[in-house]
């Protein structure tokens, strides 16, 4: 009986997951982008920064996404940019989620003065606009890589996650099964890990997805202002170059549009996946 339970839950999850159209759309778009970020750079024939073609040429068989004003291949930039954008999302999103979980669980489970303190810090950092902090940090870094960008994005993105997880922990902490676990004399760490965290697994997954999307958007904005990685390529940087070099005035849509469309598609797919998962985890939201 005890072994039967998880299996049944899992198969039910897969059943509803498969039936959920939103989840199917979201996950397929995401998978497509992940696949593209892996094989795309191999399909690209040129170095993203090299001057290889005619200047400002529209898409052709040779240059699939056209070329920039300087004759760089936009498709190569796009392929490499997609890869770094997903990496920043993954790293920044993971770090943000991790810190959020840590702060949220500790504050929510411990309560008392420590909670007051952590909650105060969370509320304060929550007010300060993330991008503003990222801008001044990035401006003072003379060499910026994808890794540093992800770390700083993760370090500034956690407050809302911490707040949400704290609230969840708060409501779980007073349940009977947690009281029972406490009576058996288990350590706090083990109670949090074995009783509280598993009950929030679905919630933590949703938090991670939103953190991922947030990291992608933050990175894109940062790159767009010109504070992205100093070497290498990103989707935001493509837009930054396009706008700075008057692609708007020259009507070079092939340079302007694809990178932003990719960001919108990735973030949109994440949101739709999020809603789909929410419907699966929360039966009340399911459409009949």
């Amino acid at each position: 009986m005890a072994q039967e339970q998880p299996k049944k839950v899992r198969s039910e999850f897969i059943y509803f997951a498969w039936k959920n159209v939103k989840l199917r759309i979201g996950v397929s778009v995401l998978l497509a982008f992940v696949l593209f970020s892996i094989i795309g750079p191999f399909l690209a024939k040129y170095d993203p920064l090299e001057y290889v073609g005619p200047m400002g040429a529209p898409p052709s068989r040779e240059f699939w996404f056209g070329t920039t004003t300087f004759g760089q291949d936009v498709f190569s930039q796009f392929a490499h940019g997609t890869r770094s954008t997903l990496i920043v999302g993954l790293l920044g999103g993971s770090l943000g989620t991790l810190i959020g979980i840590l702060v949220g669980l500790i504050a929510g489970y411990r309560g008392g003065l420590l909670d007051e303190f952590l909650n105060m810090i969370t509320n304060i950092i929550l007010i300060i606009p993330t991008l503003a902090v990222l801008i001044i940090i990035a401006a003072y870094l003379s060499v910026r890589g994808i890794l540093t960008e992800s770390v700083f994005i993760g370090l500034t993105a956690w407050p809302w996650a911490a707040r949400a997880i704290r609230a969840q922990t708060f409501s779980l902490r007073v349940r009977e099964f947690v009281d029972l676990a406490r009576m058996t004399g288990r350590s706090s760490l083990r109670i949090v890990l074995t009783e509280i965290a598993p009950n929030m697994m679905s919630y933590l997954l949703l938090v991670f997805i939103l953190q991922f999307g947030g990291a992608v958007l933050n990175a894109a904005t940062l790159d767009f202002i010109g504070l992205g990685p100093t070497k290498g390529m990103s989707l935001g940087l493509i837009m930054n170059n396009a706008v700075l070099w008057a692609a708007l005035q020259l009507g070079m849509w092939w340079w302007l549009l694809p990178s932003g469309a990719a960001i919108a598609a990735i973030v949109g797919a994440l949101y739709i996946t999020n809603v789909g998962l929410d419907e699966i985890f929360n039966p009340k939201l399911r459409e009949m």
Binding site: I128, L141, A261
Partner: protein
């Protein structure tokens, strides 16, 4: 009410303190030396570089102990002295920012307020209305997922470049000198429309989805069920649901401010609209650190003021805060 607002004000004061401290700390404790970067950028002979270094160290106030630098920073701040811009040398940073702020308010206030009202109304209508829900919901998700700068680029390209209906750069035509006349005001609005629209649309999607979800949640709750059982007309139940759903939307506005700031910065960069965002772009390109730090402080002050205004609205709208029934 006093307790509620007092607690909030304490948090805002601490936030301001932390923000100023960050603003002071980052140039001093980051790896790399901004003074060297600036000198390298100017690129002169070694003897001239030494003089410049002395000048910059004086200008940054780096020649006194750290604790004194910190105090000096605060005292300069209260005197409105944010340093001198390098990009627009020798204009003081505060003057440049003061010039930019009206433009920020001009696009942000209408975009935030109108998108909030329109999003709430449309979202409330869409809840539990199959046809509208099936169109509004996907559209809403599409809009919120769109990066601000991309929607701005799409609008500028399609309506500005291809259709040629709207200008795509600046706050007014270069041919016109700012003065009070109908022609200038019309020109101002002509340039204002696209930045406003792109901010409005992205935010609208978020508010509509939020409201739609909240209304569904409220219609599922016990009081709605009870009213339904009593035979209350649907219209009245929905009215109550709307009122309750408003509260999280007001809180949501406060939480969204950071995202809105980012959106405004990106939008202004696309349209070369002379607000804080455009200044930040130029400060970044010219490595104008004083200007960047000034912009950071003004963004914080703006966000804190907006937060406080939202708190005041919340006190008016939600009687529970007035009676001290909610601590948060």
């Amino acid at each position: 009410m006093g307790r509620y607002l007092g607690r909030k004000l304490l948090i805002y004061a601490l936030t301001f303190f932390l923000a100023v401290t960050i603003d002071w700390m980052i140039p001093r404790f980051m790896p790399g030396d901004p003074v060297s970067i600036m000198i390298a950028r100017i690129g002169t002979r070694p003897e001239a570089a030494a003089v410049l270094r002395g000048y910059f160290i004086k200008a940054f106030g780096l020649d006194v102990p750290l604790w004194q630098q910190y105090l000096n920073f605060w005292s300069a701040l209260f005197h409105g002295d944010l340093g001198v811009s390098i990009w627009l040398y020798p204009q003081p940073v505060i003057k440049i920012i003061q010039r930019a702020i009206p433009y920020d308010l001009f696009i942000l206030l209408p975009a935030i307020l109108l998108s909030w009202f329109a999003g709430n109304q449309v979202g409330a209508l869409a809840a539990r209305a199959r046809w509208l829900d099936n169109t509004i919901l996907p559209l809403g998700y599409l809009l919120t997922a769109t990066p601000y700068m991309w929607l701005a680029i799409v609008l500028a390209w399609s309506l500005g470049n291809v259709a040629g209906v709207f200008p795509i750069a600046g706050a007014y035509s270069f041919a016109i000198r700012p003065h009070l006349s109908l022609r200038f005001i019309l020109d101002l609005f002509h340039h204002w429309f696209l930045p406003f629209l792109s901010l409005f649309l992205v935010m609208f999607g978020g508010w509509a989805i939020g409201m739609r979800n909240m209304i569904i949640y409220e219609l599922e709750s016990d009081y709605s069920r009870y009213l339904e059982a009593l035979g209350t007309p649907q219209k009245l139940i929905r009215k109550y649901a709307f009122r309750n759903a408003m509260l999280p939307q007001i809180t949501g506005l406060a939480l969204q401010l950071g995202g809105i700031v980012a959106g405004a910065v990106a939008t202004e960069v696309v349209f070369a609209y002379p607000g804080i965002g455009y200044i930040i772009l130029n400060a970044v390109q010219n490595q104008d650190y004083f200007l960047l730090q000034g912009c950071f402080l003004f963004i914080i002050i703006g966000v804190l003021l907006a937060n406080f205004l939202i708190d005041l609205v919340y006190v008016i709208v939600d009687p529970r805060t007035r009676l001290g029934m909610t601590g948060e």
